[in-house]
């Protein structure tokens, strides 16, 4: 890769977005198309009034050409996110979110705000959730354990976010707490 060293440590958010683009979403197509084989698989056929599952990249491409409506996933609405936000702020653990919710939500908010209900509110809620979760993952830093790290329900974007720091922190900790090799004569004196 020809990226500068600072970016080589972990995957960039756009790359994660690209990975998330393979996820399937439901669309209501406005054009008909036969079943077509792509590199990642065969999708279709598109028949205008019937719903169809296609990967997110295809959905956003069609949406930009005004050839489909995207049906937002069940978790991308105000009630669900509000619920998760209260969980997030009241409970100590991470609430359960889809693994790639941040990427999918960003793509949908960018491409198809008119297919979402109240995109403004959704955007604010997502931001709130992200901040609450970010605070938790920072808090988790103090519990950093050299042997294992368990953070349940952490999403892809958040893992990516803490990855560089946590990886280095862990390796430093491992070095510090490494148990002295057994049977060292120096210790016994």
């Amino acid at each position: 890769m020809s990226l500068p060293p600072s970016l080589r440590a972990s995957i960039t958010p756009p790359e994660l977005e690209l990975v998330a683009s393979e996820q399937l979403v439901e669309i209501v197509p406005l054009v008909s198309m036969e079943r077509t084989a792509f590199i990642s698989g065969a999708y279709g056929p598109l028949r205008p009034p019937t719903k169809c599952k296609v990967p997110l990249w295809m959905a956003s491409n069609l949406k930009l050409k005004k050839k489909c409506h995207i049906i937002p996933p069940t978790w991308l609405n105000v009630e669900f996110l509000q619920d998760r936000l209260t969980q997030e702020t009241t409970l100590p653990s991470f609430s359960e979110m889809p693994f790639r919710f941040a990427e999918v939500a960003k793509i949908l908010l960018d491409v198809a705000p008119d297919d979402l209900q109240n995109p403004e509110k959704i955007r604010t809620l997502l931001k709130d959730i992200r901040e609450a979760r970010q605070a938790k993952s920072r808090e988790g830093l103090s519990k950093l354990d050299p042997n294992e790290l368990i953070l349940q329900n952490l999403a892809a974007m958040e893992i990516n976010e803490i990855r560089p720091f946590f990886v280095r922190g862990m390796s430093v900790l491992t070095q510090l707490t490494r148990e002295p090799p057994a049977g060292d004569p120096m210790d016994e004196t």
């Binding site: 930009l64 050409k65 005004k66 050839k67 705000p113 995109p119 403004e120």
Partner: protein, 703 residues
């Protein structure tokens, strides 16, 4: 059938816009080589065609049709492009916006020699249409497709006359063949002359318009002679000829805007959204602001768009007014609004906005001390203090803003300002800008089209008024310089020869400075692209508003000084203004700006004439046509614009200057050139101006 009726008149046997579009797509998908040069869009530099091309480009983009947009400045440029296009082998669709309706396109002079796979679509708002483009059949006629707005339905008589003249043989074949060869020789002359430009203006050439009508018809008449035995009597022929002449000579006017036609296409394709609707509204508003259509026409289309706005946008917030704000960060919606006839008052201060609006200026007589007093008097009566009205409008006291409408309604009629507002639209741009009204957007874009680059102009810096920000004053506008054309050049150059290119550029600049505009030949192409970009980029559009203000400042300044110094000569029923000196000359050589000045003068003088001669005014309601000429010092030519003033504000009269110009040119052998598609704009050699104007006015008596 080579003209397309609008969808509501279409039936199964008469294809309409959608079918034509489907054909373009089909042709594109069928063609083996899909190069970007297979679909070409020619656009004339005005706001309407700009919006139309933007809509079509959006549609093409959605359908993955590769296309190329080429700005074309005028007929001479169009001829050059035509010659270039003959070398494109895979060209199959040519779309022309706001050009070419008057040309005899099926003839071999234009597109007759092209391979038959080429289809030419003409979407032109200017009228009259060339009948052989509209009705011509056969291999050549069929591929010229005129997108009509329904006006052709009323041309049945003309159609009959045209068909009779075209397909029926001449009365006297001897005379006809004589005549024909004459005409052809003449035409060759004429063509050469066009090539050599107006330097060589010794032969009186018949007008292109008339030529395309006359001999186009006659030559085809000859061709058909053999297989059509029934002959016409001389009277019948004359009658038909007369009818056609009447159609062509009644002057030029405008039909539905090209952007409107494109919007209808988007509607039948069911792909409209707020963006496309906004472009269509801009196209319409442009026609209205530049007095191309009457208020009635405007109202007709405005009500259509009003319904569309209601359909595509959320219900407007309850507090509608001049203080409309975007509801949230993503709010790009359009609202219908009543627009005051003040120039960009939301972005300027109230006093300047009123001062620079042509309506207020003409009603109050702003060019005189007394008029300015009347304006301050009106503001004082409304309870607006002068310092307050000098504030930028967004910072004006809130209670004043709230009561502005109501106060104006109460007091303005005293000053004769009865039609202070017109129904229009506003668009929100999230939190990136204040809502922009259609009129303001059109002003900004047309300012960019005319003078985004190539001319030096000072714009006012916000907050720099009254000596604020050190000494006040403005800064030189340089927004247009960062156009994308320059970036493109930079991108495509390999690094090793960059140094040479830079050197060459430096040299070119030095030369350009030495001989003025010569080094910067295609300033208008750059302007076109910066305006094209500004259509979808609110940042650029907002910057352009200050440019437009500077432009209007110059127009008012020039206009006032013309009236003040009484530079207007009245020559046999024409008002003639010649600008030969002054600081703003380089500005007014742009036909668009000169046209605005002429319109301003017409507006201003109409009411003055009525006011000073009240008894006279009843029978002399017809206001005089106005000719404005401006000296271009660099090329030694005059730019001449003719405007027929309508009797009333908001009214409209057919512009008869297109033919009058040609007629006068013919009679006095002036060296002239049509630089634009507007026939009422002419460029004329410096020495020929005087005799030309005299001839023009003499000829004008006939009308």
């Amino acid at each position: 059938m080579v003209y397309l009726p609008p969808p509501h008149l279409a039936s199964a046997s008469r294809p309409s816009y959608a079918e034509a579009y489907a054909k373009i797509l089909a042709a594109h998908r069928r063609s083996p080589k899909t190069a970007a040069s297979s679909v070409i869009i020619l656009v004339s530099p005005d706001v309407d065609s700009l919006c139309a091309s933007k809509i079509l480009a959006d549609l093409f983009k959605q359908d993955d049709v590769m296309h190329r947009v080429i700005p074309v400045s005028g007929h001479a440029e169009l001829e050059r492009i035509r010659d270039e296009l003959t070398t494109y082998t895979d060209l199959h669709t040519l779309i022309m916006f706001n050009m070419g309706a008057i040309l005899d396109l099926p003839s071999s002079e234009w597109f007759g020699d092209f391979p038959t796979s080429l289809t030419v679509h003409v979407i032109d708002s200017s009228r009259p249409l060339n009948l052989s483009s509209v009705f011509g059949a056969g291999e050549n006629g069929d591929r010229i497709v005129i997108w009509d707005d329904g006006g052709v339905e009323h041309l049945q008589e003309e159609r009959k006359a045209w068909e009779v003249l075209t397909y029926a043989p001449e009365v006297d074949s001897d005379e006809e063949s004589d005549f024909d060869s004459d005409e052809e020789a003449d035409e060759e002359d004429d063509y050469e002359e066009d090539e050599e430009d107006y330097e060589d203006g010794h032969s009186a050439s018949p007008s292109r318009k008339r030529r395309s009508l006359d001999d186009g018809a006659r030559r085809r008449g000859k061709r058909r002679k053999v297989d059509q035995p029934n002959r016409l009597s001389r009277e019948e022929r004359e009658q038909h000829e007369h009818r056609l002449m009447k159609y062509y000579e009644s002057g030029t006017w405008h039909g539905q805007s090209a952007a409107g036609t494109m919007y209808i296409l988007a509607t039948v394709l069911e792909r409209v959204d707020s963006d496309l609707l906004w472009y269509a509204i801009l196209g319409l508003t442009y026609q209205y602001i530049t007095s191309r259509i009457s208020r009635e026409e405007y109202d007709k289309y405005q009500s259509i768009y009003h319904d569309e706005v209601a359909r595509l946008n959320p219900a407007p917030p309850t507090v509608l007014g001049d203080d409309l704000k975007a509801q949230n960060a993503d709010d790009n919606s359009i609202y219908a609004s009543d627009e005051l006839r003040f120039m960009m008052f939301r972005h300027w201060n109230l006093y300047d906005a009123m001062y620079h609006s042509s309506y207020v200026a003409s009603k109050l007589g702003i060019w005189k001390e007394r008029g300015r007093k009347r304006l301050t008097g009106l503001l004082a009566k409304m309870g607006f203090s002068i310092p307050e009205t000098q504030q930028p409008y967004p910072h004006m006291a809130r209670d004043l803003k709230m009561s502005l409408r109501q106060k104006l309604d109460q007091l303005a009629p005293e000053y004769g300002l009865v039609e202070l507002s017109y129904p229009s639209f506003m668009r929100c741009y999230g939190y990136r800008s204040q809502p922009l009204s259609a009129g303001d957007a059109v002003e900004a874009i047309s300012a960019l089209l005319d003078i985004a680059g190539g001319t030096r102009i000072e714009v006012e810096v916000e907050g720099a008024r009254n000596g604020g920000e050190w000494f006040g004053g403005g800064k030189v506008w340089e927004g247009g310089r960062e156009g994308r054309l320059r970036d493109d050049e930079r991108e495509n150059v390999p690094p090793d020869i960059l140094a040479q290119v830079v050197k060459a550029q430096v040299r070119a600049q030095a030369e350009g400075k030495a001989n003025g505009e010569g080094g910067d030949v295609d300033w208008w192409v750059k302007n076109f692209w910066s305006a094209f970009d500004a259509l979808s980029d609110i940042e650029r559009l907002r910057e352009a508003i200050s440019l437009s203000m500077a432009l209007h400042r110059a127009i008012i300044r020039q206009g006032s000084s013309i009236i003040d110094k009484q530079d207007i000569k009245t020559l046999r029923g024409h008002r003639v203004v010649i600008l030969a000196q002054g600081p703003d000359l380089p500005l007014f050589v742009h036909p668009g700006i000169l046209g605005r000045l002429a319109l301003w003068l017409v507006d201003a003088l109409r009411d003055r004439a009525n006011a000073t001669t009240p008894a006279y005014s009843r029978n002399k309601r017809k206001s005089l046509p106005c000719v404005v000429a401006c000296l271009n010092e660099k090329t030694g030519t005059y730019m001449v614009v003719g405007v027929t003033g309508a009797a009333d504000f908001d009214d409209f009269r057919k512009n008869e200057f297109g033919l009058a110009f040609l007629d006068a040119k013919e009679r006095c052998n002036a060296r002239t050139r049509h630089g634009t598609f507007d026939t009422s704009v002419l460029e004329i050699n410096k020495d020929d101006l005087k005799v030309f104007l005299e001839t023009l006015c003499e000829g004008g008596e006939r009308y």
